[in-house]
């Protein structure tokens, strides 16, 4: 199921020039993990923040969740200034970070009741029961969390983020490290939470996850946003099809020049294994590509034809592919 496309309407998250700078150690210069990013997330959206490890996704989420001071720029969540009134922001958001933050010595029920108490939910026991049922953990509710599987912990973590029915839910890499079945369960949970009216800000390095869940995405690399829009619009910008050509490194420059001159080719980008050729009509382009390579005495190792993916969007913007960006499932 593909998510509906949308444009940001009533902004639930608004970020302008957001920057996070870490002090350099031992005379080293300061390091900017996030470099003046702008983004807007509309009410009811599932917004995907996509990028490789170390791109600045988690740092951005931690700033928006008030867990990390903002060095420069501004951010509002549900209209509340994150820098000026972090306490008010905390009442409006739910947070499930990459590291599943659960105390293994407590039972699932105890942890949820504690969380309800901290958010001053009037009937904590009843709300904990409701959430345990919702995430399918009623039977395991009175077992200590250290005995839970990775998927159960992730579902309980999600439940702890939902005790107060937050306006905005931040999910930092919610399926990293999960098996394929658990990943699909979490995707279903995210869809259900969003359908109930919660805006979701989701970071991921999994391209298919972004494709499956997100109305809009922003792609971040090295602390800067390099592309943003709906997944389909971003992919459409690249042309209709991608012909991927496996080539040894010494032939790539020559092949790049030769293929770039072919009619119907939008652009050619170098990849780790060869070249990605963006064309309007892939089926027609494959024989042309083979023929042209033969003309310049280059024999390709492999040739494949595919539709552009968000990885191609990332590749086009940065010249690199996202490492580990392919999930193990095809839902």
């Amino acid at each position: 199921m593909e998510p509906a496309e949308s444009e940001p309407g009533d902004a639930q998250i608004d970020v302008r020039g957001l920057t996070r700078r870490y002090r350099g150690s031992r005379g080293q210069p300061d390091v900017e993990a996030v470099r003046g990013i702008d983004l807007t997330v509309g009410r009811g959206e599932v917004f995907g923040f996509l990028g490789p490890n170390g791109a600045g996704k988690t740092t951005t989420v931690r700033m928006l969740c008030t867990l990390l001071p903002i060095s420069d720029g501004s951010a509002t969540v549900v209209g509340v200034d994150v820098r000026r009134d972090p306490a008010a922001v905390r009442r409006l958001i739910g947070v499930a970070l990459q590291e599943v933050g659960l105390d293994g010595t407590q039972t699932g029920r105890e942890l949820l009741e504690l969380q309800c108490g901290l958010y001053r939910i009037p009937a904590p026991a009843a709300r904990a029961d409701e959430l345990l049922g919702l995430v399918g953990l009623s039977e395991a509710a009175d077992r200590t969390i250290k005995g839970y599987s990775g998927g159960m912990k992730r579902r309980l973590d999600l439940a702890t983020a939902l005790v107060h029915k937050p306006e905005v839910l931040f999910l930092d890499e919610p399926t990293t490290g999960l098996d394929p079945a658990s990943r699909i369960t979490i995707w279903d949970e995210v869809r259900r939470i969003n359908a109930a009216g919660t805006t979701v800000f989701l970071t991921t390095q999994y391209l298919e996850e972004a494709d499956q869940l997100c109305n809009r995405v922003a792609i971040i690399d090295d602390g800067r946003i390099v592309a943003s829009g709906t997944p389909n619009a971003l992919k459409a910008e690249l042309g209709s099809d991608v012909v991927t050509v496996g080539l040894p490194a010494e032939h790539r420059e020559l092949a790049n020049k030769a293929l770039g001159e072919l009619p119907g080719v939008d652009r050619v980008t170098e990849t780790a294994d060869g070249l990605a050729v963006y064309v309007n009509d892939g089926a027609a382009a494959v024989p042309e590509v083979v023929h042209r390579l033969a003309e310049v005495n280059v024999r390709p190792g492999t040739i494949s034809l595919s539709r552009p993916t968000l990885d191609d969007v990332f590749l086009a913007a940065t010249g690199r592919r996202i490492e580990g960006g392919t999930p193990e499932v095809a839902a």
Binding site: T105, Q106, L114, G117, L118
Partner: protein, 252 residues
């Protein structure tokens, strides 16, 4: 329910369910007590003037109490919360952040009371008696537990500052010189030269002396007890302030 009470309940449950975190802190002082008694019991018979007719074990009980409650357990629990990401979840909740420290200290108080009762029971089994009676026993337990709360701030501060389990665990070692540079084997006036000076400068000396007076004398010595209580309060204020400061700058 108040967030401090909720977090304290959680921390106390944790202490109850993880006895392995508390028992070593209890075992070591009891071990030292037994070894010390084995070595010097005959050197200091009950007729020794500073024992006031009691067995030497009575003289050693306050040392064991202070030793048993001065642990890095809360610091280790805090650094574990950091390590597993649970502290982030608590920091993202709309609560007063100081409740995170007060909750831990409340658990220290509960643990301190339990550990003190056990150490006293061991002392009683070896023949020690608290001469100041039931009130003395209650004061001994409460003051020892309060010292544990006061001292816990240092390990919590180290945990928040370093975010490192090994370093936090090693903070336990800080207490060894503090414990042994005191009148722990003999009264202050029998200590010699530089050790006597250092013992006078060491706040733990005043805690041990105050507790010891409750064990050895039938009357409450309000002077030494007052100094003991004041030492606990000042230490608690300074070390808790350190841990609160470390929490305030945790995310920077």
């Amino acid at each position: 329910m108040n967030e401090t009470v909720l977090l304290a309940r959680r921390a106390i449950r944790e202490v109850w369910r993880l006895p392995a975190a508390t028992l070593p802190a209890l075992f070591i002082p009891v071990f030292f007590l037994v070894v010390n008694l084995g070595q010097v019991n005959k050197v200091f018979p009950p007729s020794t003037p500073f024992l006031h007719g009691q067995h030497y074990v009575a003289f050693q009980i306050p040392v064991s109490l202070v030793f048993a409650v001065s642990s890095a357990t809360s610091g280790l629990a805090m650094v574990t919360d950091i390590d597993i990401g649970y502290l982030d979840k608590l920091l993202a909740a709309p609560i007063r952040r100081t409740a995170l420290i007060w909750g831990r200290l409340a658990a220290d108080l509960a643990r301190g009371v339990a550990v003190s009762v056990l150490v006293l029971a061991v002392g009683f089994a070896f023949g020690a008696r608290v001469k100041s009676g039931v009130l003395g026993v209650v004061l001994l337990i409460l003051l020892a537990a309060m010292w544990g709360v006061a001292y816990a701030g240092i390990a919590i501060a180290i945990a928040l500052k370093t975010k490192n389990v090994q370093t936090t665990n090693a903070s336990f070692l800080i207490f060894f010189p503090l414990l042994f540079l005191t009148p722990n084997f003999v009264p202050m006036d029998l200590l010699a030269g530089p050790l006597k000076t250092l013992a006078h400068l060491n706040p733990v000396s005043y805690v041990i002396t105050g507790l010891r007076d409750l064990v050895l004398y039938p009357d409450i010595h309000w002077g030494s007890l007052g100094v003991c209580a004041l030492t606990i309060v000042v230490t608690g204020v300074v070390l808790t302030a350190l841990s609160l400061r470390a929490l305030a700058t945790f995310s920077d």
